[in-house]
């Protein structure tokens, strides 16, 4: 006996994502879901971004990790409000977890909320959290074939941050063709914004932070 069901399987996640999106849109809060491999420098980028924008834009952070609150501690040192989520083995954040984190963050006082997803280029791209935009981080040591090998996240992201560009000059032994990455990413997503940065030296942060400030301003004035 065959029975037609036609039931959505991840509808619970979609409902939470829809509610998070509504919550953020009503309050005109920019929310960026940051996705990358482990070790690309997400937390260092966030700490530097918070410092550079101190006094101009109020930033809060939702930290996702499989375990430990090492990253949240690093954000706490910048005095920005931070909520840690431990996924206990799961390879991505869910919209329900973000919903609970949004209840804990002082959202009313913030202009911009970063979600630092679990380090993984595949799974987080399939789970909407209700964010305004996704941003993908790629560090030069990971290789320039990543947009071709993990196309979904590059196709879905508003911004590509290419991090650790100081390594290209300092070491000179990293085979990383920036033009290839830019071209491959734009073949998947012509409108993607690309910033070359080093969270260690601060290179490129004027442009990246300028884009953030402008995005917050245009959202708040809309």
């Amino acid at each position: 006996m065959k029975v037609n069901v036609g039931k959505k399987i991840l509808s619970a996640n979609e409902e939470y994502a829809f509610r998070n999106s509504q919550f953020l849109t009503e309050r005109k809060k920019l929310c960026l879901n940051m996705i990358s491999s482990p070790g690309s420098g997400k937390t260092t980028i966030l700490a530097r971004t918070i410092s550079e924008l101190k006094g101009k834009i109020k930033i809060g952070v939702i930290e996702g990790d499989i375990q430990t609150d090492i990253d949240a501690e690093r954000i706490r040192a910048t005095e920005a409000p931070v909520v840690q989520i431990n996924t206990n083995g799961a390879c991505h954040l869910s919209a329900a977890q973000v919903s609970r984190a949004l209840e804990t963050l002082p959202v009313g006082d913030l202009d911009l909320i970063f979600i630092e997803n679990v380090g993984n280029l595949v799974c987080p791209s399939a789970f909407e959290l209700g964010e305004t935009n996704k941003i993908v981080v790629l560090s030069v040591a990971e290789g320039d074939d990543k947009p071709a090998k993990y196309p979904a996240i590059f196709a879905k992201s508003k911004v590509l941050l290419i991090n650790k560009i100081d390594l290209l000059e300092a070491v000179g032994q990293v085979d990383f063709d920036i033009e290839r990455v830019k071209a491959d990413a734009r073949k998947l997503n012509r409108a993607i914004e690309i910033f070359l940065i080093s969270a260690r030296t601060g290179a490129g942060f004027a442009e990246w932070c300028g884009w953030l400030a402008e995005s917050v301003r245009s959202l708040q004035e809309a």
Partner: protein
């Protein structure tokens, strides 16, 4: 890696249907958009492991991957594509936006008829 969570939700949905029809499910067919990045082998393995010692033990799973769809920004054509260099089959433009991925759907269950 996210297949375990999908398998949990899927097993819950199949079990609920099995209870409703009071029958043992033999096979299920699901569909999802390709951007869900579901690995068939990993999902089947996760479901098999979770279903052990339940009414759903031994259930066969068939997974249909729905193509990615894009809308051309130059001529508004809607077309299926792979995520390698994407060009509109009608006007050749490479300026496009991805349409939302088809949802993960439990389409059909086959039950044992006594």
């Amino acid at each position: 890696m996210h297949e375990m969570m999908v398998a949990q939700s899927l097993l819950a949905a199949i079990s609920a249907e099995a209870a409703k029809h009071n029958a043992k499910p033999l096979a299920a067919r699901i569909s999802c958009g390709k951007l869900y990045a579901i690995n068939d082998e990993a999902l089947c393995f996760a479901l098999e492991a979770l279903a052990k010692d339940t009414r759903c033990e031994g259930i066969k799973l068939e997974i249909e991957h729905k193509p990615i769809q894009a809308a051309c920004k130059s001529c508004t054509e809607i077309f299926e594509c792979e995520l390698s260099p994407v060009t509109c089959p009608r006007c050749g433009s490479d300026d496009f936006s991805l349409l939302p991925d088809p949802p993960l759907l439990l389409e059909e269950i086959e039950f044992l008829t006594e």
